[in-house]
Amino acid sequence: MTAAQLFPILLGIAWLIPLASFVAILFFGNRMGDHGKGAATVATSAIGVSFFLSLITFFAWVMAGHEVSSPHHDDSHASVHRTYNDTEQSVQAVVFRSPEHGDAGGSHASGHGEAVVPASYSGDWYTLYESGTLRLSIGWYIDSITVLMFVVVTFIATCIHFYAAGYMHDELHDVTDSEVRLATGEPLHREGRFPRFFQALSLFCFSMLGIVIAGNLAMVFIFWELVGICSWFLIGFYFERHSASTAANKAFIVNRVGDFGMLIGLMALWGGLGTLQFGDSVSSATGQVEPGLFELVRPAENHHEQQVPDGLVAFAAADQIEKMVAANPSSGELSREVAAAVPDWREQGYGRWLLFVAGLGIFCGCVGKSAQVPLFVWLPDAMEGPTPVSALVHSATMVAAGVYLVGRFFPVLTPDVLLVIAYTGGLTLFIAATIAVTATDIKRVLAYSTVSQLGYMMLALGVGGWVAGLFHLITHAFFKSLLFLCSGSVIHACHTNDMRKMGGLLKVMPYTGWTMLIGCLAIIGAGVPFVLGFSGYYSKDAILAQALLFSRTNPQHSILYLAVAGGAFITAFYMFRLWFMTFAGSPRDQHVFEHAHESPRVMTAPLVALAIFAVAAGWALPGGLGVESLLEQARPAGTAETITTAGILGSITLPAEHESHSGAIHVTATLTAFLTALSGVLLAAAMYLKPLISPVAVAHAARPIYTFLVHRWYVDELYNRIFVLPTLGLARFVAAIDTQLIDRFINSLAWIARQIATVDAWFDRVIVDGIVNVAGSVTWKAGLELKRIQTGNLRQYVMFIVVGTVAIFVLATLLFRTSFAG
């Protein structure tokens, strides 16, 4: 079995197993053990199996030895060629992209070594709808990111399943939710929802993996919404709490805003190109290969340079085409003429806006999902959900999906869009970081740090650091979930989220404390420069380097670099502020401190496991076996070179990422990162470990800024003013119209109808009934008279019959002058 067959099967199974567990728990959840204790086992084993399968795929991928698509070393083409031939012989439905694929497709002249196509497998499991070129299908697009994401997601999910099995044990028996007061005043008393939690968790895993493996945008969108609904379920897990339910709704609605933009992007693409497939696909109708989005936007014959696809051009140039039709309405000519005219239309810039809008729209979806400015407000509230949910959904995976989609969609995004992305990311990371500084709720701090880290990734992608962004996505997934789990364990121990009540917990809960320290070090990217570091060290350095390179190549955007650097400093500050306030120093609240205790094994074991990866995820093993090099294998074709384009937003130069490894940039970036992080840590220590500087004094000194930050830049209030209140007002207005105008009108109609009905009733009673009654009485009387004839005497009847017969005969004979017999 070749890799091309193996990967879809393995990953497909890994993808579907959580669905199976979801269905199982959905139907039999309550019958699994007492209060559905077995549900945890089912869900955990399911996700564990998919983790195992993903691992197998991972190693299989590594064994397959795909070449790294960086410009230097073209030597490994042979191997690619071999793999390609295998797939060619084995399965037709699977397309393996590689330079030689062009030859097979006969689409471009071979031998362009410098633009290497990443190794990817794409194909369809099931076609939902197909007519002409339009095609909706459940398919796969597998490259190294997919495999990596599978491993990461399933691994973290497995850890978190274990963790949650311990964390959610309250739900096993009836729960008294002290945060919900009934009308009578006593707390709500409800039965546990243990299976429900794991059911939602399984569904989420299924949906997330679906996004990761999706072979086309439509499928991505479907699972996109699925993760949305899962997050709605999970945030609103304690839906009796008003805060939780509102937070769930808020998350969902805010995501709607983003998804609306995403829909626009989808429509633009589909309308113009007629396909949403990422990779090339073999249409079941006509055996030949249909180019996917990537091939369309970066066609091979164009050396994978980005260009506006013909479809979009023609789509945008509809008016020109109409002119043509008006000119000579012979259709056969038309298509050829259009084909001929497309290039200079492209030169005239037709369709560029369309591509821009498409990219922007897709990015809108990502903004909503991964909580970028301006749609980041939902994520902190989402912390109302149980902590494992925050760890899995709202830090590691789901919110990363936006970043993942941007990375996956990278080839289609024009430099303009990338610039927008970069600025959005920068803004996000700065705002979120600043808010995190003043937050006192431990989970909110982490939430805002998540937002800002997502901003980092976005920015990295925006400035062309494709590998950097995704690298940070993966490392961040590890240490952020670790941090969340730690905070969860802390909350579990203290039964409060407020850091001001904590302190000195390191003694009582060492596992949590040390692992959390590792997490903090990882997120601030600590490490010995140029030697060794935590995972964050590598990814953040890559981002910094790329940002630096970007600001060097186009200085007008150098603010982005400042944002990154400043963000690094603030990150270090608030992370260690958190750690110091929680674990170091002396307990601020004795009562809490005395009840604090180390969490059970089932919770600490995942912490340790995650901590290991938080440390080592960034290391590159000898033989190019590391996350970074693996990501390199998936780098979209044609993004490896420095490209300068004069876009809508002015001329932009996307620097090639490998240039950021060059000495000058690299050293500068690393040192910057190190120093900023160090200073941040020191400042935090100064304020919260050794009270050299009093935070209160600082707050007093900068009261306006402080309040501004405490109120989270008044974003929520702003939205409330801009959107919510007007909406409510409009609603009231419409309701008034309804009650005052429409209801009145309908009531008057009803009144008129009643008047008519009374008249009609009178008519019915007097006239109609009168007629009927008269008829009835006449019939009755006639019957009374006629019944005398019915003597009931059989023989008499016979005689009547005879008389009748004879009469008929005679009459017939007389009248018709013929006899019946004749």
């Binding site: 005969f809 017999a821 004749g822």
Partner: protein, 231 residues
Amino acid sequence: MNHEAFGLSANLFAFLDWHGFFFLLFAGVACVAAVMVVLSDNVVRMALHLVLSLGATAGLFFLAGAEFVGAMQLMIYVGGTLVLLVFGVMLTAQTQLVALRTPAGDRVIAGILAAAILAVLLQAAFSVESWQKPGQGVAAAPRATPLGMALVGVRVDQVAEEKLGQPKNGYLLPFEIVSVHLLVVLVGAAYLARAKRRQVPRPVEIVASTDSLKPRPSGVASATLVSGGPK
């Protein structure tokens, strides 16, 4: 000794035509017996005459070359009337038997009506020329097989007119309908006649209230069985 013995070769010189003779015989028996049915008051006598009349009719059918119908007549009709007879005897033998005489007025009216309808029918019978032409005396083809074929839907007698294939020619559907109908009737009859709890019959006086209660011989057991037989 074959069919011609009944004068199918009547065109031969003969001053006595067997066919005519037998026709007269059977027709006479049939008509006289029918009249007797009307005239006699005794159920069993009526049944006897009826059977005679039907049998004679069967004879007429044989004469007309419809052997199958004749046999059918014998079997079903005569059998059926046999059952009639049995029932008559059983029913009327139950109670003290009174001859149910009809009032004279009814008889008169019935006579008039009979005359009228008979006149009409006779007029109809003689209204068509070709009916009065004497038959050609063609040896009638035996109809058993064609009948059977017709009943299963094939009209072999119409091969000449190529109507063979036409479905509505045959009698398959009516045949099926009739057979189902027979079954239904059997079930229904069994249901109607099923043994019910007899409520006490009304006193006989009401039955006998007509002025025709005959003095009967002293209550011999046999006397109960003898309806107004000729004494």
